[in-house]
């Protein structure tokens, strides 16, 4: 016997149910009445166990996303609400899952580089560097000094660019749209620098295994100098605007508070972890590139709420500018790629004007780096969002046998579920902004 629906829209699902098991599992996770209401309505094998005129009582399930202006891409939050308060929240990710770990297994190490651009697409340079460092560790390739300094600098630039977007979008989520456009002006300046340095504005793919693709031109150094001269004041201006803005503070204070123990337990990483008072930053924990040689602070707050995370990121931007300044001062002359045809691409002059160079170039593109069989290594960097690590396994061929990406957004999103519970809908968007996930990375 099927149940005659008594309200308009009750039989909507009979006509079209897409991925029914998936949604059912989500509702079951919420322990919502939806779970069996759907079964009841669509499989309908007996008397209704539920008064169909008020099937859900007071509760309301709100699907925020995957298409929603505040979910930073395709995050889906299924929240169970009582009025404006979120009682339970379940995050459903995977709407941007492209299987890049699987794809990596059929690419040479160098070929996989452009895919890393598309992971955390707000700071492609850091991802490139993380990948290169992991491969270099796996194959034991040494990188020339100058390349390391340039990488350090560019990684910090990527961090500023990512944090700028976080700031603008975070404020836009809170309803202040103007700052969004100001930060995008800053990002535009950074894009211009990337354009000058790498030849691409957004997905740079500038790093190479064993070094970087091209050296800095005098004009790009001038642009970098101009940037580090101008931007401390600009960022300080944003801080002056926001640090005393009552509405902004009230919307962030004591929202999504996470203690240091909880943060470690939940596996938070990056600025979110440091906002809770855990002094963990890969740049200090296991220094890579030139972070050992430059002088910088790691901002830490102990409150663990959205405001603390905001302060941490704002201070990080200023620290990054400090690092870039030092890199510019201490940038040594020298090669930008390892001079070893088995480890890195030969320079273009060599490729165009010598037979060996061309053969090496061909072989490197065709086979590439071949770490020894059974080699396995994990290398992490401090990406803008947190610890970005690549675990690689080699079977002795030019293609990795297993690539695992430990992406910071994935780790951070997990904690977001716990943060959301008990906050209001308006806080949900502020929380998503403050955790700063990028779905390209979380969904792999």
């Amino acid at each position: 016997m099927s149940i005659a629906p008594s309200f308009v829209g009750a039989d909507l699902g009979q006509q079209f149910r897409f991925w029914p098991r998936h949604n059912e599992a989500l509702y079951k996770r919420l322990e919502s009445k939806h779970a069996w209401l759907e079964q009841e309505l669509h499989e309908g094998d007996g008397e209704p166990r539920v008064d169909i005129r008020d099937p859900l009582g007071n509760e309301m399930i709100l699907n925020m996303g995957p298409q929603h202006p505040a979910t930073h891409g395709v995050l889906r939050c299924v929240v169970q609400m009582d009025g404006e308060l979120v009682e339970r929240a379940v995050l459903d990710i995977g709407y941007l899952h492209r299987g890049i770990e699987k794809l990596a297994e059929s690419k040479t190490y160098q070929e996989f580089m452009p895919y890393t651009d598309r992971m955390d697409y707000l700071s492609p340079y850091s991802n490139n560097v993380a990948w290169c460092l992991a491969v270099e560790k796996l194959a034991g390739i040494e990188v020339p000094e100058r390349a390391q300094w340039i990488r350090t600098m560019m990684c910090e630039l990527a961090r500023i660019s990512s944090h700028m977007l976080w700031l603008g979008v975070g404020l836009m989520d809170a309803g202040a749209v103007s700052v969004f456009l100001w930060t995008f002006q800053g990002r535009e300046d950074i894009y211009k620098i990337f354009d000058e340095v790498a030849g691409a504005r957004f997905t740079v793919s500038h790093s190479r295994i064993g070094g970087i693709a091209s050296d800095l031109s005098p004009s790009s150094i001038a642009m970098l100098k101009d940037f580090v001269d101008r931007y401390p004041d600009v960022i300080q201006g944003w801080r002056d605007l926001l640090n005393r803005n009552r509405i902004w503070i009230d919307r962030n204070l004591d929202i999504g508070t996470i203690t240091a123990e909880e943060a470690k337990e939940l596996g938070l990483t990056g600025s979110n972890l440091r906002g809770s008072g855990v002094p963990y930053d890969v740049r200090r924990f296991e220094p890579y590139l030139k972070y050992d040689d430059v002088d910088f602070n790691i901002p830490i707050r102990t409150e663990g709420d959205c405001l603390a995370r905001y302060h941490v990121r704002m201070e990080e931007m200023l620290e990054s500018i400090k690092i870039i300044k030092q890199c510019l001062e201490r940038l040594p002359e020298g090669k930008i790629r390892a001079d070893d045809a088995k480890a890195a691409y030969p320079s273009k002059e060599e490729v165009y004007y010598s037979m060996e160079g061309m053969i090496h170039d061909f072989m490197y593109t065709d086979t590439g780096v071949t770490p020894p069989k059974g080699a396995r290594a994990y290398h992490a960097i401090e990406a803008p969002k947190g610890e970005l690590g690549f675990y690689l396994e080699s079977d002795g061929t030019g293609r990795p046998s297993r690539v695992h990406i430990n992406s910071p957004s994935f780790s951070n999103l997990q904690a977001l579920e716990y943060m959301m519970e008990g906050e209001s809908v308006a806080d949900v968007v502020v929380l998503i902004g403050s955790v700063d996930p990028v779905m390209g990375e979380a969904d792999k």
Partner: protein, 339 residues
């Protein structure tokens, strides 16, 4: 001065069209001002300096497909935007534009204004409910709660003005400000009224009902085409009208600054058309300032959260408004006793 019925009709027609044009101009102004605040040019392609952009928008709205959700309550879904526009366009009927220039000079015009702003909550709530969308519903509920909470303080702020003027007629309230604008005699009331006017028109930072980042579009999520255009229009007209009311109640309405002095210096001006034009210009200048204030605030401040909004409404504004009414009442009585 009593205009004949025909004149009233013609004048009403002019006012409605004036309002529509003003709304279009406000759309343009908002975009240009926000562009200026955000270091970008703003719309500058359609017409000279982009002035025709709003008209291009209207054309776009008219040609867009009108999507009505399958599971919505169709009649109410269509009714809501019409209600919003009609109510927004009715309020100017009682606003005096210059001395003696008002469509309907009724003795309780303040009550009419309050009543109409109260009804406009129905437009939003019904739109939210009839769309059969959770975001719309939340937006509609928020709006209802917000308007009811702020209406109290708004009403009390108006009461303080009514007490001072001793009349419920907007024309008389304006004339009573001939000696001094009420913003100087009653600054707290003016402040409360301006804040509540922001809340009543659902402008940032009180734009919770349509909080774009949380509720997608709030109550108008499920509207498209000209129906959405009507909400849009109603919002801008509301905001324009709110500026008019602010000016009328607290900033001397159509009165020129130091009008008495000017008239005593140039007595020939009394009763001429030129004076009327000057008064209208003074009114529009003041209104333009408040319209700009609305834009300015919107592009500067983040949005309130629901509980913060309620805290401000009930815990701060309402007690303040009550105290203000008491002070004003005592002041008025004292003034009568003394002079």
């Amino acid at each position: 001065m009593d205009l004949g019925l025909l004149w009233t009709a013609i004048f009403g027609f002019l006012v409605i069209n004036g309002m529509l044009t003003a709304a279009a101009l406000l759309v343009y102004a908002e975009r240009r001002v926000s562009g200026f605040m955000q270091n970008r040019p703003g719309p500058n392609r359609v017409g000279p300096a982009g002035l025709l952009t709003p008209f291009a928008d209207v054309a776009k709205f008219l040609f867009k497909e009108d999507v009505v959700p399958a599971a919505s309550a169709r009649f109410i879904h269509s009714l809501a935007p019409i209600m919003m526009v009609v109510i927004a366009m009715t309020v100017p009927a009682v606003i005096p534009f210059a001395r003696g220039v008002v469509i309907a000079d009724i003795s309780v015009s303040v009550l009419v204004v309050l009543a109409l702003t109260s009804i406009s909550v129905y437009g939003i709530t019904l739109a939210g409910w009839s769309s059969n969308n959770k975001y719309s519903l939340l937006g509609g509920l928020r709006s209802a709660a917000q308007m009811i909470s702020y209406e109290l303080s708004m009403g009390l702020a108006v009461v303080s003005v009514v007490v001072m003027a001793g009349s419920l007629s907007l024309v008389e309230i304006v004339e009573a400000q001939n000696t001094a604008w009420y913003v100087f005699l009653n600054p707290l009331g003016a402040l409360i009224f301006i804040i509540t006017a922001f809340a009543e028109t659902n402008r940032a930072p009180f734009d919770l009902p349509e909080a774009e980042q949380e509720l997608v579009g709030g109550y108008h999520t499920e509207y498209s085409g000209m129906k959405f255009g009507m909400f849009f229009l109603a919002e801008y007209v509301n905001w324009f009208v709110a500026s008019f009311i602010i000016v009328t109640l607290f900033f001397g309405g159509y009165l020129l600054p130091f009008e008495e002095t000017i008239l005593s210096l140039v007595p020939a001006l009394e009763g001429t058309v030129l004076l009327g034009i000057l008064q209208f210009a003074s009114l529009m200048a003041k209104v333009a300032f408040f319209a700009f204030l609305f834009i300015w605030v919107r592009w500067t401040l983040p949005r309130f959260k629901y509980d913060q909004l309620m805290t401000i409404g009930w815990k701060y504004l309402l007690p303040l408004a009550i105290i203000n009414v008491l002070i004003i009442a005592i002041g008025v009585v004292a003034a009568h006793a003394l002079f």
